[in-house]
């Protein structure tokens, strides 16, 4: 009969109308400023720079290698490496700008970074009245502590921390062995005269934090990872381990 389909459709809407008064599952609206939905851990919008320890600029993991600047598809990253008074690179960025009005949140900078220095933020309330003022983020605005990273991406940060601690342990062991060899071999003080400008900033800038963190994370890399991926730890490790494989190598090298 003509009109049956129409009435059936009206029945559906009527059911939903009545149901919305009884079933709380149907009330899906989040009253935004007061209530907030929990963001998934993988959520990303714009990049930020991670620093270790307490000193924001000195503790930056970034070594101004410019890999992210080259790989960034919309080219929103701008880096000038810092140099000391003799003109040698200090492996720190002097300028690190991200134009987040250009950034397309693709996360490629995070994937290509061999030092785990740049990560994706979850801060989304960043509307600005001025077009140019706070949408071009400088080094100071981008630097955020590792604890913040652990807070927004807990599982990912645990993996990264374990990996970095492992790399640092290896590097320390290597340096210690080298120092002992040098001490045994000849003179008193200087283990590797060429090294100090390059490597010491990292250990010296983050001595308290890493000293405190090192035993903890280095002692429990096994339990730290499995809770994240209970079923397939080897698979996960080999999968995510692959793109970041240089990480374990580079800081030690």
């Amino acid at each position: 009969m003509l009109g049956i389909g129409l009435l059936k459709g009206l029945g559906v809407t009527a059911k939903n109308l009545v149901g919305s008064f009884h079933d709380p599952a149907r009330l899906v609206t989040t009253e935004y400023p007061e209530q907030r939905t929990k963001l998934p851990e993988n959520y990303r919008n714009f990049p930020f720079l991670v620093y270790d320890g307490t000193a924001a600029i000195d503790g930056l993991r970034c070594v101004a290698c410019k890999i992210c600047e080259v790989e960034c598809p919309p080219q929103c990253i701008y880096i000038i490496p810092d140099r000391d008074e003799k003109g040698r690179p200090t492996k720190k960025p002097k300028v690190f700008d991200i134009d987040i009005s250009v950034c397309m949140s693709c996360q490629i900078c995070v994937e290509v970074c061999p030092f785990d220095a740049i990560k994706m933020d979850q801060q989304y309330e960043i509307a600005e009245a001025d077009r140019f003022d706070r949408l071009l983020l400088k080094r100071e605005a981008l630097a955020k502590p590792n604890s913040y990273y652990q807070e927004i991406h807990p599982a990912e940060a645990a993996q990264v921390d374990a990996m970095l601690a492992e790399a640092r342990r290896k590097a320390d062991a290597k340096a210690k062995a080298a120092a002992e060899a040098a001490a045994a071999k000849a003179a008193t003080a200087k283990p590797g005269a060429a090294n100090p400008p390059t490597r010491p900033p990292a250990p010296s800038g983050s001595t308290p934090a890493t000293a405190a963190m090192k035993p903890a994370t280095a002692a429990m890399p096994e339990p730290a990872v499995p809770p994240v991926q209970p079923t397939q730890t080897p698979a996960e490790n080999s999968a995510t381990g692959n793109p970041v494989a240089p990480k374990t190598g580079t800081p030690g090298a």
Binding site: K8, A239, N242
Partner: protein, 409 residues
Amino acid sequence: MTNSPIVALHGTPAVAGGNAPSEICHSPLAPGGAHVRSVRDEFHGDLLEVSMGPHHPSTHGVFRMIATLDGETIVKLKPVFGYLHRNHEKIGENTTYLGSMPYTDRLDYLCSMTNNWAYALAVEKLAGQPVPERTEYLRVILAELTRLLNHTCLAGFLLQDTGASGTPLMYAFREREKILDLFEALSGSRMMCNYQRFGGCRVDASPEWLEAAKRLADGYNEFLDEYEALITGNEILMARTQGVGVMPRQLAVSAGITGPMLRAAGVDYDIRKVDGYGVYPRFNFRVPLGDHGDTYDRYMIRVLEMRESIEILRQAFAQLPSGPIMDPKAKIRGFKPKPGEAYGRIEGPKGEIGFYLISDGGANPYRYRVRPPSFINLTVLEDMCLGHSIADAVIILGSIDIVLGEVDR
């Protein structure tokens, strides 16, 4: 006839003198073309040129239709596109292979997962890069979720175009939101997923995610039942869509139409079956075909495809193996395939989405070409609209399922 309104309208004297109506109705396949002619012979009414768009709610973006009307009947329709052109292919030639991946999200921004897959497939063919099995399954799962998402949106928008403002669209968007939540939880972004990589994918799906996706797939039939009860049997929808915008089989094939539009015209051509890319040959699913090729068929095809997608999803969840998600030899940085060319195509929700790449051995492709399904499906718009009223043109356009990001590139 020398001072025919057509001449005044278009300023082309060449039309004058000849048999003006037949000049206008140039498509022999236009349904109802004869009807147009008889009306004009009788009344000699003025033709009216109406420009719909580029800013019009029914054009699904910035798209313009210049319709020449005889009364309410369309005698000529000229689609104008390119308002959203942003040099996609040229940008692709100037960025690295990986750098183009996030740009493919922005082609058809409802289906970024399938765009990613098509592009990754092309590059993997070019570089001879194998893909781990788990990733192949994840790709199928995500592609089928994308198909659900896209067809759900289409069903909502089509109803919006017929004038059912709001209700069906909101029902559809309620479900779409659930799929977008899944995408966000997995890839970090609702629409710009940027998930696939050459030789794998970016992050593994956690067991909780798979559980949630499984729940969604299991509950989706329920939604489709509700949605179909809401509109499929609706007499107004039938009256508006049945027999409207008929696309003959022959025209569909010769114009290179792909996807649900082609199958609605009754041509059995599904790249999932024809190419058997990925792990699709392992799944048991049917390809729905239409009988009449009209707008109603195009709507129904999508609903039926969604039900098949749910079947594929169930099988994929059951068969999903564990293992790595990234090939150990795959390169993220410094990716330079050997010189050569490759064309990777998949059955996207809208049709055949393909990427054609030529490599000269460098870090960027020498040539990067997209075969966009929406754009090619849009080329038959005039043939389907001739002889119908302007209100029908809106529905016909809606049933083609275009996304202007992909049409204009």
